[in-house]
């Protein structure tokens, strides 16, 4: 890293806490949460917006953190990663359903998949199979062939009804 590059101080809310950090002009939110905050659940797959491994919630909505510049964050921005949802009832239900359905193989895509799943079930607790596929269209999995992931989302939704 070039040390004479300009460092920028930013403030924002990360997983429910107001935080401050310093970033370089070209640093993405993905690099920042992994390096500055050591939150490594969020993964880098393609770095180009195509695979969804880096999905996080930005002001409540899923985005690709590999394309968002950290320097653009402002104090009113809220970022939530999988770690921030560890105690969340819905996220726990989703994670359990993924495990029960055997939807996790290497696991690399899973933090991103579960973020997309979380966002879907938050606004649409009883999605159809088409809605599930549509919501996960920005997440690529090299291992599972998607069937089990779709089944896991359906199961998480079904268990939520009880």
């Amino acid at each position: 890293m070039n040390t004479d590059e300009k460092r920028i101080s930013i403030q924002f809310n990360l997983n429910g806490h107001d935080v401050k950090t310093e970033v370089l002009p070209g640093m993405t939110v993905l690099e920042m949460i992994r390096r500055n905050f050591k939150l490594t659940a969020t993964k880098e797959g393609c770095g180009k917006g195509e695979c969804g491994a880096c999905s996080i919630l930005f002001n409540g909505l899923p985005i690709n953190s590999c394309l968002k510049l950290a320097a653009t964050l402002t104090p009113s921005d809220k970022i939530v990663t999988v770690e921030g949802l560890a105690d969340d009832e819905l996220m726990q239900r989703i994670q359990k359903a993924y495990v029960d359905e055997g939807a996790v193989q290497c696991g690399f895509c899973i933090p991103g998949m579960t973020i997309s799943t979380y966002s879907l079930l938050k606004k649409n607790p009883k999605p159809t199979m088409d809605e599930i596929k549509y919501a996960l269209a920005g997440n690529i999995c090299r291992c599972t062939g998607y069937r089990k992931i779709e089944a896991a989302v359906a199961k998480a939704a079904e268990r939520g009804e009880k």
């Binding site: 917006g49 985005i63 394309l67 510049l69 966002s119 269209a137």
Partner: protein
Amino acid sequence: MSFEFYKPSNIKEASELLKNPGYVAVVGGTDTIVKVKGGFYKALKALVDLNGLFSKEIKVEGDKCIIGSACVMNNIAHNPVIVENFPALAEAALSVAAEQIRNVATIGGNVGNSSPVGDTIPALYSLEAEVNIVGGEEKRTVPINEFITGVGRNVLQPGEMIESFAIPMRKTKGAFQKLGERKALSISKINLGLSYWNDGKPHYRIGMGAVAITVLRVTKAEEFLEAAPHPLSDETIQQAAQYAIETAKPITDIRSTKEYRKQMAGVLLKRALNAIKN
């Protein structure tokens, strides 16, 4: 690569910054950051963050619908005014990439990037949208079909930015069609926006992307359809499709061949016309 980052607090400041060579505006970043990472900007000096400077809202003002340049695809796709009156644009916005991109990708960025495959652009052509441009204190308005001048090129002068888009307020029927490798996350091989309205006589507007260096209007088909008996017959639709094929001047590139694109211009127009028939 070393470059600076600026977060101007007002439009005037942003405009001054953007007058410098090598200074690039960024909003959603879904085009810009991919290009920065890919080394596309050979002389990049600074990124200028426009977030917070322009409206993200959609509102009706008099006889126009005004879409702020910072409005993201998902908001356009689900906005009741757009869905009700400008279905071609709602469908185009919904076809962009995937959920994660649609939550940050702005309409200003889609048009500002000025790619011949940008999906909202043919829809904006079909709706006769205007681009409201601001540069410091000066403002000007340019029709969308005069805004883009080539691949990645437009009429913006250094220091100028897109403030908003204005669409004549009228109820249109419309459709957006695109062909890509798959439904989600694929850049169009070819795309087409169709809008239709009737104010005593029928009006058709057809914008077609990825078939030339900028989006083309298929005026020959538009005039033919306007003069044809309604409801449109299959033969009429077939003839209009033929005009779309004749109008298309595509090239062969990594995404498709020129022969395929030309044929598909006809197919997409046929699909769009059938989609609005009831």
